[in-house]
Amino acid sequence: MNFLKPHYSLLLDPFSLFFLCVILLISSVSAVYAYGYVKDEYSPKKTVLAGLLFTAFMLSMAAVVTTGNALVFLVFWEIMSLVSYFLVVFETEQKRSVNAGAIYIIMTHIGTAFIAAAFVLLYKQAGSFDLVAMKTAALTMPPAAKNLIFVFLFIGFGTKAGVVPLHLWLPYAHPQAPSFVSSVMSGVMIKIAIYGLVRFVFFVLGVNALWWGNLVLFFAALSCLVGVIYALMEHDLKKLLAYHSVENIGIILLGVGASMVFIKLNLPVLAVLALSAGLYHLLNHAVFKSLLFLCAGSVYRSTRLRDMEKMGGLIKLMPWTAAFFLFGALAISAIPPLNGFVSEWLTLQAFFAGAMQCPAVGTKAAMGVYAAVLALTGGLAAACFVKAFGITFLAIPRSEDVKKAREAPFSMKAAMAFLALLTLSLGVFAGPVLGVISKVSAFAAGSCGMLVPRADFSSGVYTITPSLSGPAALSPAFLLLLLVTAAGAGAALVFVLARRRKVTAVPTWGCGYYELDARTEYTSTAFSKPFRLAFSFFLMPYRRTEKINESHYHIKSFRYELYNTYIFKRYLYQFGLKMTLRAARSLKRLQAGSIHLYIAYIFLTVLALMIFSGM
């Protein structure tokens, strides 16, 4: 083949179309939002630049999911990273942006090196970068090579997706970008990595061993827990959301990994169910995470704040943003009848079915463990978003900047409203959506050469039924109806029994102390303290205390700062970096400056070569 001119071959199967839809949906909404956001935020020149970069970003992602040529895939993959890098460092004046961008692009580039290695190994077998040729070549490939390729792919795509422990860049890069970019990065870009993984494992490589699925499941569960725990500890609103992206990628991968296991165990229906759960959560996460980032963006735009400890009371100043954020928070906490609930419920169903139908007891037990992990993650996520919403929007403002906050302009509100509506309708009308997604995932599972019966898990518009032995059904619409009825009944009760009661506005009760103000409010740190202590074995929190003595006897002021030990960063990355740099510095002694030394190198080289030729 001619490397000087890689040819772009279009690939539009249901799978890539699904991702294309997600990309276009989220990006266009973010673009609408951006229209209001960039106004009087950046200089005209930078505004144009932002527009160009954003468009390029969108197009590169679209190109990645629609190409049938691995080389072109690689090229657009890198372009995607490059463009998003420039969007991360968009506020080039800030040192934080530059550092975050450096971490991001370096990690993602090294990940790409792994992907490239995997592709080249495939190319060696296939003699072409065309996916179809690769697939046929993979059939006759030795298992060892397949395993190697899979590991490379998982490392490569895992880096982009932010799978723990390769997630390091994510909480730095996503918050630094302008919010309409963060929403696309968190909502869509990291999903492209999922696309790559599924595309090359399901469609090209084929699931070769059981441990592949188990590996994915293990790291997925790790990502869920680590992501949500770090998110609980976070006070930077956007960083908190970024950590939740790590968690949700974990949930998505739980579905994908489970379906890999089921494919290997030849349980087609379950494979389709699990993959549908994963893909559905992928769609849902795209929607509610972008919504949350957009809301965080409008908060940042009007207050210049990202630290929750300085916020509070915004629900009165920005009622719409608050309402939309509440939708997102409920959705991401898997609370019915919103969309996050449906996909997590499906994932749990998949695990339950797996526990029923997998032959080995070990696998059954593993399914239970992963279900428990998912439940724990859900609980912690709910706690985290009670914190995020409560501290940010409720009670009394904690700083002056918050008090002059104002509601976002129309285009931003419109974008957020649309997504908020989507969280609701993707939950209530789960039936048809799941119908489509189950066809997509049936297509994916079918490409692994197993016979997939027509598996459609939706009966009617309102009800979804994972087709197991029994009729376990879920109808979010019906649930909504029940909820509304019951709440209405309560309202009626109040109306009937207590129509004449007075409602008086009084200051908050302070045990007789009536000077309550922002300083006596419960803070984000305080809220997360029980979790910090419960997970102290993992977080290893420590304090830096500082006393300012007025005299020997009297302490004027006492301040302490609380830190967590981020073990992956500390013991994996910083350690490795330290070792590498140390090695590099010791290497520098070679170039000591003495010309005699340099001639001696030539001398030794010549001698060595002479001896080498003698042997």
Partner: protein
């Protein structure tokens, strides 16, 4: 399933739910050799609250006003899904056993927000601890649900209520659900309903700012939640179908047997509450993890067919 039956069942349970609290309180007092208030005291309390005016903090927002209704709605909706008196009588088309857990988290979410809304540190502390404990309850609950659903092969509660036999796994699961019950209804050793010392209480601290009708709604929601978990616990152990099959002649065997089971459950709760002391917050976590362990054992037993 017959909607009218199911609706009647839900209505009946909601109406008797305060009675159960009263009953437990009475039993506790008697066990402590006290007389205590009558078993209808909860009804009087609710009536009194409805008749009172309401104070709402100036800092509170619409979240604070909406929370009681959402809480009531979520508890009742969850109750709708579970068959109680008769096998298979529930709105199980709306959702399955897992949905119950998710539904309850809705009410909890809003109450926790309301706790933060007033801006008092008690509310914040209460909601922080409530969310903390509940997030450890969920895995235990889910595993227990898996365990009991394993026999039926589905998480559909209606199908569960048709199972006819008592299995080791269901016994373990029942134990797990009992621990979940204690935690979710803020009873000893996790929480203490009777104290009003703010620093030790959890649920009560969260709803500290409420008064009047709103508080009444929250109380009702709590009662409903309690009866729901009791129903789950007892029906998991001995399903309505089994009960009905004991006296096929007697038409109302199921309902009658259900009442007996509930009474026994009340006795058990009362016995536990008078016999153990409240745990520190982090010991409570261990207690919940113990519950998770039990449900894990139940799950293993279930998937291995016991």
């Amino acid at each position: 399933m017959n909607p009218s039956n199911a609706a009647l069942q839900v209505l009946a349970l909601v109406i008797v739910s305060p009675l159960i609290s009263g009953l437990i309180r009475k039993l506790k007092n008697n066990l402590r050799l006290r007389i205590g208030p009558g078993i209808f005291q909860p009804y009087y309390d609710i009536a009194k609250l409805f008749s009172k005016d309401e104070n709402i903090s100036v800092t509170a927002s619409w979240i604070f006003r909406a929370a009681p209704y959402v809480a009531l709605g979520s508890s009742v909706a969850a109750l709708c899904l579970m068959p109680a008196f008769l096998p298979g009588v529930s709105f199980s088309a709306a959702g399955d056993f897992l949905a119950v857990i998710f539904l309850l988290s809705l009410g909890r979410f809003f109450l926790a927000l309301a706790g933060l809304d007033a801006g008092s540190s008690f509310g914040g502390m209460g909601s922080s601890r409530e969310m903390f404990l509940s997030s450890f309850v969920e895995p235990a609950a889910v595993l227990a649900i898996f365990a009991v659903s394993a026999a039926a092969g589905t998480t559909d509660p209606a199908a569960l209520s048709l199972l006819g036999a008592v299995r080791p796994s269901s016994v373990m699961a029942c134990g797990a659900f009992f621990i979940v019950l204690l935690a979710e209804t803020s009873r000893l050793p996790v929480d203490n309903q009777e104290t009003h010392l703010e620093l030790t209480m959890i649920h009560e601290a969260m709803v500290l700012e409420y008064s009047g009708p709103s508080l009444a709604l929250i109380e009702i929601a709590a009662h409903v939640k309690q009866v729901l978990f009791m129903t789950i616990a007892v029906n998991v152990l001995i399903s309505p179908a089994l009960a009905a099959s004991l006296w096929p002649s007697l038409a109302l065997a199921g309902p009658a047997f259900f009442c007996v089971k509930i009474l026994l459950a009340c006795a058990a709760v009362a016995a536990v509450e008078v016999s153990i002391a409240k745990m520190r917050l982090f010991r409570a976590v261990d207690f919940l993890l113990f519950g998770g362990l039990i449900s894990a054992v139940a799950f293993i037993l279930a998937v291995t067919g016991h």
